[in-house]
Amino acid sequence: MRSHRIMLASVAAIVLAGAAVRAQSPYGIGRPATPAEIAGWNIDIGRDGSNLPPGSGSVSHGREVYQQQCASCHGTDGEGAVGDRLVGGQGTLATAKPVRTVGSYWPYAPTLFDYIRRAMPQNAPQSLNDGDVYAVSAYILNLNGLLPADAILDAKTLAEIKMPNRGMFVDDPRPDVHKPVCTMRC
């Protein structure tokens, strides 16, 4: 009898909860996403390093990972090949031949971790563990003179790196090309 009452109360609570959700959701379509499901898919890293995972990786280990996983497309020393050039180019952005690399152009270091983890290597995305992603990020930053050779990178140290080109991004000013005189019926 007692268990029966508890069961009835539970059913009532579920029905009420369901009604509350439906009242808030105009169409009642879809199901709740669980925290575990969200954690599995949410790989977004903020520019401040938010949502960077635990773990760490060294420049030296990163060199090994890079030679195995990255060098065939990006060159032995990050000079680029089929894949983008990753190294150098500082001081070239305002010239006729700008060289856009991680070191010369990217404004935020945590983005490097985000991108390598989500999309690299191109033939096997999301196959590296977090430690290897930290390590290869460290190595690329080291190649660009932004991290010492003996450094170990983790969430805190990655977020602290100030990229050289960080202050050079501006808002969209368009429309920026105006006809001097509008000679038409406009």
Partner: protein, 426 residues
């Protein structure tokens, strides 16, 4: 090949009939248009009047063959335009053959492509859309769920942000030059409805959209756009999206640069600020001559291009030719298109072909008589905000040529005395 003289409408008369009967001249459709393309030519006159064509004298192919229709075997040259010598084809683009198409709707098989990690083969039964972040109720939707929402259909263009770049070499044909634009009727659900289903929290200012492809493409969309005309699209031109266009689900942001319209959409993360993904920091930013870079450059500005006659084609006849082209603006409707046939000395209004829709390709037409002399033809568009399409020189003066993006320049075609059409700025 016909020369302007022997096909001149004014004096054709008996001479023209004689030539046709002798079978020495090119096919009828070419004569009618006076524009040499790649149409199949009749080898003989056995199918021409007064003879009865062979396809009239025998029954045709059975009904329903094939079960999914394909173009005529005489149109097999009308295909997507992609270089045969790219270093790799996972992150690459193919172009719409604009000069071979009419109207404003791009056939699904000819819609331009830009992928960053190849084209995934997604089972829709196993595809999910996750909506989380600054929402009251994080939700997961199946494709069946999304199709239960009220649907809407709208016609909009999509254009790659770099169409074309600012540096030479410039393309030879309209497709080479600006073939990274296409237009379709899209069907799906308003993103606003889906966001309301989860309930936005205060402070929700951006939505980070992510693809399920191998590039896991990621772009941040301002909430204002998401609550305005953004759509979650599952169908294109009446049928389900093609894999190349994001099957089974893509984001559509009318008027915004192509890469933001994330294909194979699997996740929407509602946030307080942009995620500053690789694509919106190191890639789709516009580098200026002073070394600064414009970020979050969303809108595709007003643009137009003459598609007929255009580069790679040839006028075979003096006399009447309709100049035809496309105009579009990411900021609204096309209000006006002008055409110049005298190297920009004078401009005249083109006729806008209905329908003229917001953030859609708009077809324009302009009647013209070619006198057989060299000519330089070009179009310029004005949208409903009053913005006038600029010249390449005007754009370069402000932006330099280091940015590969948002080049919406007026583009002239040169017609030489032989009727050959080529890129006047190349």
């Amino acid at each position: 090949m016909a020369t302007p003289d022997d096909t001149n409408a004014a004096g054709a008369g008996p001479t023209r009939r004689h030539v046709l009967r002798s079978g020495a001249l090119v096919g009828g459709s070419v004569l009618a248009s006076g524009l040499a393309g790649t149409q199949a030519r009749a080898a003989t006159d056995e199918n021409l009047p007064p003879n009865v064509p062979e396809w009239t004298r025998t029954p045709g192919a059975p009904t329903g063959s094939p079960l999914y229709g394909t173009p005529s075997p005489f149109e097999t040259h009308v295909v997507k335009n992609i270089s045969t010598s790219l270093p790799q084809y996972l992150s690459a683009a193919s172009r719409t053959p604009l000069q071979d198409l009419d109207g404003i709707i791009t056939p699904n098989g000819l819609f331009y492509e830009r992928h960053h990690g190849g084209v995934p083969a997604i089972d829709p039964a196993q595809h999910r859309l996750m909506l989380h972040g600054l929402v009251e109720r994080p939700l997961i939707f199946t494709m069946d769920d999304l199709r239960r929402f009220p649907s809407e259909s709208r016609i909009h263009f999509l254009e790659c942000s770099g169409n074309p770049g600012y540096k030479k070499p410039y393309g030879k044909t309209a497709s080479d030059l600006v073939g990274l634009v296409s237009c379709a009727e899209w069907t799906g659900v308003s993103l606003k409805l889906v966001l309301q289903e989860a309930g936005l929290q205060p402070g929700a200012k951006w939505v980070v959209a992510e693809g399920a492809d191998a590039a896991v493409m990621t772009r941040s969309i301002p909430i204002e756009k998401c609550l305005d005309d953004a759509m979650l699209v599952y169908s294109q031109n009446g049928e389900r999206l093609r894999p190349q266009q994001g099957y089974p689900l893509r984001l559509l942001l009318p008027g915004f640069e192509g890469n933001m319209n994330v294909k194979w959409l699997r996740r929407l993360h509602v946030t307080a600020e942009p995620v500053y993904s690789r694509e919106e920091t190191s890639k789709y930013t516009d580098l200026m001559p002073d070394g600064t870079a414009r970020e979050f450059t969303f809108f595709m500005e007003t643009k137009s291009i003459i598609t007929r006659p255009s580069g790679g084609q040839r006028l075979t006849d003096q006399g009447f030719h309709e100049i035809s082209g496309l105009a579009w603006s990411g900021r609204g409707r096309i209000k006006r298109v002008e055409v110049s046939v005298d190297d920009g000395k004078s401009w005249q209004d083109a006729q806008l072909q209905d329908p003229v829709l917001t953030r859609a390709l708009t077809r324009f037409r302009f009647p013209w008589r070619w006198d057989g002399q060299p000519a330089l033809i070009q179009s310029r568009a004005v949208d409903e905000t009053g913005y006038v399409q600029p010249s390449l020189a005007e754009l370069l003066a402000v932006r330099g040529d280091n940015s590969g993006y948002h080049n919406n320049a007026i583009w002239p075609w040169r017609i030489d005395a032989d009727g050959e059409v080529s890129n006047a700025l190349a």
